[in-house]
Symmetry: C2
Subunit: 292 residues, 2 copies
């Protein structure tokens, strides 16, 4: 399984190399590379591939391109989220954000090109595999996680409304791409994607709680981005509502729910161990995962 997950990094390199080849304007080419490498934990693409592997992964190219697309779309959302008109974040992943390093115009275009080139990865699979329905389903699941009315763009747009339902906001802005990751992994492997929605949803919620905890008690250096932003921006945060102990308990409970929801499949045990391993980093130092 480790080889397949490392292969995701290789395929991200191939995708960015194609996007930045001649005659790509030099600044856009640099910014596209900068936005993707070095990456974060690559949680979403790993989850997508892990679900496909747990279900036999009989179309590995489609699962891999779905994973690559998901990571490129996630990165696009970070680049646009950091723009001056949104979070005006000067740092991301421990280095200047794309707009800090390359200017606002290149940052807008980097996000745009990452979206286009991400979705190009998925449809490229049609040249190799004749199953148009499976391709269409994987593509729909991923675009639903990003566009309107339920994806990241919609989630971000809730920040522009006078009133927001916090659950809907988080579900769109953070949860939707995790749901896309598990569902696209399942659909790429030809199994019922709906059974994999609860795992994506639970991990998405757990990730949001982990982010809330980090924002409150993490240092900016640890996070690679400024801490304490939720309080400054008046955003809902689980620690503000439940305290650190309560938020950690919620995190444990969400992970237990997610793992409990994993359907019967050939690679169930391996998938559970992977989810457990990946989620270790959700916990702040001094706190540990308590499995059900």
């Amino acid at each position: 399984m480790v080889n397949e997950l490392l292969d995701c990094e290789h395929n991200l390199k191939v995708a960015i190399k194609a996007a930045t080849q001649q005659p790509c304007p030099p600044l856009l080419a640099q910014a596209l590379h900068y936005a993707i490498f070095p990456g974060g934990a690559r949680v979403r693409p790993k989850l997508c591939i892990a679900v496909a592997l747990a279900n036999g992964n009989d179309n590995p190219r489609l699962a891999m391109m779905a994973a690559v697309a998901i990571e490129m779309l996630h990165s696009a959302s970070l680049v646009h989220d950091d723009l001056p008109c949104f979070d005006d974040a000067i740092e991301r992943r421990g280095k200047p954000s794309v707009h800090s390093a390359f200017g606002e115009r290149i940052a807008v275009l980097t996000g745009d090109a990452l979206i286009v080139n991400a979705l190009q990865q998925i449809t490229s699979c049609g040249f190799y595999d004749g199953d148009a329905q499976r391709l269409a389903l994987v593509s729909q699941l991923i675009t639903q996680g990003v566009g309107a009315p339920t994806g990241i763009c919609a989630g971000q747009a809730w920040e522009c409304e006078p009133t927001v339902d916090t659950a809907t906001y988080h579900q769109c802005k953070t949860g939707a791409l995790f749901v896309a990751a598990t569902c696209a992994g399942a659909a790429a492997a030809g199994v019922d994607h709906q059974l994999w929605q609860p795992l994506g949803s639970a991990i998405g919620q757990a990730y949001q709680v982990a982010d809330d905890i980090q924002d409150c008690i993490g240092s900016s250096a640890e996070m690679g981005k400024p801490a304490g932003r939720d309080a400054i921006l008046g955003r809902p945060n689980a620690v503000h509502e439940l305290g650190v102990e309560g938020a950690v308990a919620l995190l444990n409970s969400l992970l237990n729910d997610g793992i409990g929801s994993i359907p019967h499949c050939s690679g169930r045990d391996l998938l559970i161990s992977l989810v457990e391993k990946q989620s270790e980093r959700f916990f702040p130092s001094g706190y540990h995962r308590r499995a059900a």
Copy 2:
């Protein structure tokens, strides 16, 4: 043929209705609709469908969804192009630009969502038609016209470079989506798309010259956007180089080249008459088309 072209407007409405349904945040929903309706001349989607029709159009859904996607992608590029960090345009199509009407944040997200939902239209065809290769080819041709290294994003990014080759700039920023329109129309109908590249390229260049002429001698009211921007922004303009007479002669010559390049196909005469009709509006008042 008229019915099929009108149907494009209907399918744009269906696409925007799907994108803006519950639970889409209200401002984003309004802005998505506002960016597409009422539209411009819909030159690109009409060209895409006309090429498919001229070639038998045996997969009309794929041709239509390609056309719809192309118009949504074009509109997305206008919304982002008008942003304060680029052209800072306050008007577009005779009304306030999206960022003037809804703010910069919603304008960024409207462009993003239009890109995602446009590409979603194309892959949705895979649920109805099993030809994954044709779907993949149409999708690749369109994404090549929009992303990096050769599409609209790349064209726009040349504006951020210290030196620019004017031909490359216009080819990416304006020409690429016209080439995508003719090539995707041909590919949707299952014929060799490469034969249709010269028509798209010539119309794209003609459109750019028409835009240059309008920018120099049109009024802001006629254009629905501010006139004289090229001189203010120091951009290359065919009228500055050739004078109005010279630019009109170039326009005529480009259209003759394009029409002359149209390959043998069942609907060649009808297509030529449509291109002639559409291109009438490229000419300023007092000047007329001179066919070869």
